[in-house]
């Protein structure tokens, strides 16, 4: 008699707690879903905040960073003396390896017509070190910009580059704007 009453009491308590947790969860779910995003938000770099610090190449969880240099071809000046391609202050003005900005040789230069050259980024070689981005932005048109390549990014819950980014340039963005490339005057 005593035992069965105890069990009933315990069942009653359990039921009550269950109901409480259930109602709480429901309220939380409704509250959160009113301001939720369809699917995951994604990470992207705002080039106007980017300071080309090289952390993108070292802090990504992937061995080779998902951050790549994107060449906005429409903004390129097609310079012969491309500051993104060639290092400044070199002894001889030629395209020898020691004179190039890119440490991995990811920028390919192709002659178009006198005096213009086309530049292409080889994505597999680019490690997101931003050396070319920095000098292109400082001395050129700024057509080279760092962006997270969305097919490579594994979309971590917390981007490990965003955590250390000195300019706090990496943030969660909506899926409808996967890339934040900037045009002239910093407008996207």
């Amino acid at each position: 008699m005593d035992n069965s009453r105890k069990i009933k009491r315990r069942e009653f308590i359990n039921k009550g707690v269950r109901l409480g947790i259930g109602v709480g969860l429901g309220a939380l779910a409704i509250d959160l879903s009113t301001r939720s995003a369809e699917g995951k938000t994604i990470w992207q770099i705002d080039p106007s905040k980017c300071v080309q610090c090289d952390k993108c190449s070292t802090d990504c969880v992937l061995d080779t960073s998902a951050v790549k240099c994107i060449h906005v071809t429409d903004m390129c000046g097609y310079c012969d003396l491309c500051s993104g391609y060639l290092r400044t202050g070199t002894k001889n003005l030629n395209t020898a390896a020691e004179n190039r900005q890119c440490p991995t040789g990811a920028i390919v230069r192709k002659f178009v017509e006198e005096p213009f050259f086309e530049y292409t980024i080889v994505e597999e070689l680019c490690n997101g070190c931003a050396k070319c981005v920095k000098s292109c932005g400082a001395f050129g048109n700024g057509s080279l910009q760092l962006q997270i390549q969305q097919n490579l990014c594994v979309n971590c819950n917390q981007c490990s580059i965003a955590r250390v980014c000195p300019g706090q340039a990496i943030s969660r963005v909506d899926r409808s704007t996967p890339y934040l490339l900037k045009g002239f005057g910093g407008k996207s």
Binding site: N14, K40, V61, D74, D80, V112, Q150, C156, R163, R172
Partner: protein
């Protein structure tokens, strides 16, 4: 023409070096008009993964949970549970690369609760709530093998040893601290520490830092003997499920009908989650236990205050993890006349951006204040858990059979195979038995 371009370039270079402008995207060189009919190629960016996968993830999660619950509670088949574990490991672990998982979603939810501006992904809500709902009704079937972190460890639990209860209770406090800190850091918008220290993510991605890889490998090797070390002694989500599972409507039972106290299942559980029958001898000490219970109930509030106060002593250290707090700290410690090479990039960036320092200071003060309150709560919560654990040890409940511990049981269904009740006796065995008694 060529030399003209070079000359312009040089002039620009010289003028820019002297001013060291950080400016970006300025049209210094106009886009050339090509005479050879050259067409500018399009800017190459890759497409984003379709949202379809996110829905597939949710669908597979719900499906796996329902199937696992059915296998554990109704089908009672360890073999089937094992294969579902393998599937879940392959899908959520290796195929979807372990992100997002319910363990990490705790942080998304706490960040969303405390930061109204944060847009929480629907996937995170579903991944947080679905396992909890299933636990509320059927026990921790999520832990059984749907969780990719649990699944990978479950496959390694081959030579489990039993741990002494006091070790389990002490180590069991680590997840509480971990959960507290995870909520504290995500609620203040600082960091997602559970994701950062996810030990198996580098296995799932076959990529990542070597430190985390070795940590994961060490955990898996430990898991051979101390089964599922991460689930039992680290997992913050496990704390929530452990609590909720105690009130679950149904739960896996070792025996399909009535326990016959054959003791065959006594060593079946690799996680020490089977409660043995408690004899009446314990009940005779009831007076002693009640005395202890009263003492523990009285010291619990004191414990809450002490642990809360202790944790709050460290709130400024916790706050240092926050980027803005660190930045403000660095801004005050590095003088403007410091050697340029010694100035952190963050400081240079902030100074050149022209943002007012006062605004940052105010914001940082607010963040530190939140950390102060938060660490009081986290510390107090830990004290409360310690007090309740002690109090729980004194409460005696009469039990005459072997039952899985509702909180700690991971519903892996290993013990089910050990129970002889209701099983058909193998024909060959019957013959052997008969011959013996002939």
């Amino acid at each position: 023409m060529k030399h003209k371009a070079q000359l312009i370039m040089l002039i620009v270079v010289i003028s820019l070096i002297t001013y060291n402008v950080l400016a970006q995207q300025i049209q210094r060189f106009p886009k050339p008009e090509f005479e050879s009919g050259y067409q500018t190629p399009l800017t190459q960016v890759s497409k984003i993964q379709p949202v379809f996968f996110e829905y597939l993830d949710m669908f597979v999660l719900v499906g796996c949970m329902a199937l696992m619950t059915w296998l554990v509670l109704k089908k009672r088949s360890r073999k089937a549970v094992f294969w579902l574990t393998v599937f879940s490991l392959l899908y959520f672990g290796f195929y979807r690369e372990g992100c997002i998982c319910p363990v990490g979603s705790v942080q998304n939810i706490s960040m969303a609760i405390f930061n109204p501006g944060y847009v929480v992904p629907l996937t995170a809500i579903v991944f947080f709530i679905v396992p909890i709902i299933f636990t509320l009704f059927f026990g921790r079937t999520f832990c059984a093998g749907v969780c990719p972190l649990g699944a990978i460890q479950d496959l390694f639990a081959v030579r489990p040893v039993s741990l002494k209860p006091w070790i389990r209770y002490v180590l069991g406090l680590i997840p509480v601290i971990y959960l507290g800190l995870a909520v504290l850091f995500s609620a203040t918008g600082t960091d997602f520490i559970v994701c950062r220290y996810d030990p198996f993510i580098s296995f799932f991605r076959i990529n990542g830092s070597s430190l985390m890889f070795f940590l994961g490998a060490a955990l898996l090797l430990t898991g051979i003997f101390i089964a599922r070390p991460y689930c039992r002694f680290f997992c913050p989500y496990g704390v929530i499920l452990n609590f909720i599972s105690r009130f679950s409507r149904k739960h896996v039972s070792i025996t399909p009908s009535t326990c016959i106290n054959c003791k065959l299942c006594e060593n079946a559980c690799p996680y020490d989650a089977i409660d043995k029958p408690e004899g009446l001898s314990v009940k005779n000490d009831n007076r002693e236990l009640v005395k202890k219970l009263i003492i523990y109930c009285l010291i619990t509030p004191a414990l809450v205050v002490v642990t809360g106060w202790t944790a709050s002593k460290y709130h400024e250290d916790f706050a240092e993890v926050n980027f803005k707090v660190r930045l403000a700290h660095e801004l005050t410690t590095t003088g403007t006349d410091a050697n340029p090479a010694d100035i952190p990039t963050e400081v240079t960036t902030f100074r050149s951006s022209g943002q007012p320092l006062e605004a940052l200071r105010k914001e940082v003060d607010k963040i530190i204040h939140r950390f102060n309150i938060g660490s009081w709560i986290v510390g107090g919560f830990l004290g409360l858990i310690i007090g309740l654990t002690l109090a729980r040890l004194t409460i005696y409940r009469y039990k005459d059979d072997y039952q899985p511990n509702r909180g700690n049981c991971l519903s892996c269904a290993r013990c089910v195979d050990y129970c002889p009740v209701g099983k058909e006796i193998n024909n060959e065995m019957q013959i052997v038995e008969l011959k013996k008694y002939d």
